[in-house]
Amino acid sequence: MITGEQKSLEEIQTLLGEAEKVLVLGCGTCVTVCFAGGSREAQILSSSLRMASKLNGHPQEVTDFTVQRQCEWEYLDEVEKEIEDADIVLSLACGIGVQAIAEHFPKTWVVPGLNTTFLGIPVEQGVWEERCAACGDCILGLTGGICPIARCSKTMWKGPCGGSEAGHCEIDPDVPCAWQLIYDRLSSMGKEEVLLELQTPKNWQVSRDGGPRKIIREDLRLITEEE
C-alpha cells in the first residue's frame, strides 16, 4: 500500500493561508489503513484547524468529507459540489489523490495535507516499512523475494557492500541490511548460487529515469486509437 504521514499543523496552516471555506478531503483506501488520511483523521484535523483558526483571529469554515478513493474520477464526482463550494481543498490522500483533484477540478485550489512517503507494509501496530520502489522491472525472482532496490540504501543490484554489520545497514543500526536478509533467505533455501551470478547494470529506463510512465492495455480500452 501507499503510506503517508500528516504534515505538521503549522505547515498545513501556511498552505491554507486565509482561505475562508476549507474542505478537508480524506481518502478511504491506503491512507486510511495507515491512519494518516482517512475519515477519522479528516475529522480530527478539521476540528484542530477550526480551533487554531479561531485562536489566530481568522476563523475558517472547515468541513470534512471522505471518499472511498481519491485517485479515481468516479469517486471524486460524488463530492463535486463540496469541492466546488470550497475556497481550498486540503487533500489527505496521497500525492495521486491531490493531483486527481487538480486535474478533475480545474478551478479548485488543492493542497496536500500529507507527505506521501513510500510503498510499504505495516510490520507491526504503528510501524510501516518500505518494500517497493516501483522500479518497473521486478527482480524479486532473483533475490529471494526481498527487494534490494527499495531496501538497500545504495540500491545495490549485487550486495552486500562492506558496510553491512550484524544484520544492519551502515547508515543506521535500526535499518536492516537488505543483502543480509537476501543472503539469509537464499542460503536457508540452499539457493546461494544465485548470489554468485554477475548481473549487468539495471535498466532504469523503465523506472522513473525514463520519464513519466504510462501503461496502455489495448485489450481493456473502450475506445481504441483508430476510432
Binding site: K154, G162, G163, G167
Partner: protein, 335 residues
Amino acid sequence: MSSKDNDYLVGSRLEKVLRAGHFAVTGELGPPQSADPEVIREKAALLKGYVDAVNITDNQTAIVRMSSIGAGTLVLQEGLEPVIQMTCRDRNRLAIQSDLLGAHALGMRNLLCLTGDHQIFGNHPTAKNVYDMDSLQMVQMVADMRDKGIFQSGDEFKGTPASFLIGAAAAPFADPIEFRPLRLAKKVKAGANFIQTQLVYDVKEFSKYMKKVRDLDTHKETFILAGVGPLKSPGMARYMKNNVPGILVPDEVIERMNKAGNKWAGKKAADLSSEEKKARSKAWKEEGIQICIDLIKKIKKIDGVAGVHIMAIEWEEAVKPIVEGAGLYPRPEEK
C-alpha cells in the same frame, strides 16, 4: 595471474611491480577540501619513493574534496603513480565512463572501483545519490572498455579505448562474513586485477579468510593487497573496533596502544600540560607505527598476499618509517 608473460594489460608501474612478483606497496592520499594544488604536492613528496602507487580517494566519506582525477594529475606531475578511486555514489554510467576517458588521456592507468560510502555520512547528507550501478558492475564495465573496446551500452570506441588496471575493494570481516570470500571471487570473475582490503589488525582472522580465498583459487587470478594503517591513539583503536563496520581490532592491539601511554596513565587530558600531551601523542604514534610494521611482517608471510595497501590518510609522514621498518624500502625499480 601469470608473472611470466610480459604483455601487460596497461603497463602501469603497479602492474609491473605486481607481475614481477615483488611485494607491492600502495598508499593513500586524501585530496583537500579546497582547490589548493600545494596540499597534493606536499603529500606526494612524502610518499614518493616509498609506495609503488598511491590511491587518490573520491570524495572520501562523502565529503566534497578535490576530484580524484584532478588530484591524480598533480600527483603524476610529481612523478608518483596514482590509483584513481571512483565511486558509484556520485556518478551514473555516463559520468563514470566519460571521467575515465579523461583520466586515461591524462595518463592515469590504475583504477579502484568502489560502491562508495553513503552520502548520509558526509557534509551533504540531503544530496540525491546515484548508484546507477554497483562496484561489481563498474568492474565489468571497465573491463569491457579495456578488453573489448566497448562502452557499457555496447557501442564501440572510436579511437583509443580507456584502459586501466582494475582494482576492487574487499571487506574480509564485514557481514555476512561467510559470504565474503565468495564475493571476492565474484569481483575477480567480473574482472578485478587487484584487490585492496579493508584495514586488517587481526592477522589470525585475516589468515583464515585468506585460506578460504586460496581454496577458491582466487589469489591466482588477482593480486591481493592487504589494507593496513597506523593507529594514532588507543581511542582511535577502540573507535574502529566499536564503530567502523568490518574492522576487527584485537584486544592485544588496543593493549599495546594503552601501554605506550602508560607513563601518563590515569591522568585526564585536562591535567596534562601541552608538552605532556605532545609527548604522549608521540609515544602513541610511535607504537602505532610499530604495530603497523609488525602487522606487515606477519601479513607478508601469508600465502596469496601480493602486497600491502597503507592507509595513513592525513598522516602521510607515517608511510616512510612504516615502509622502511617493514624492510620494504627501497621500492623496486619498475618503470
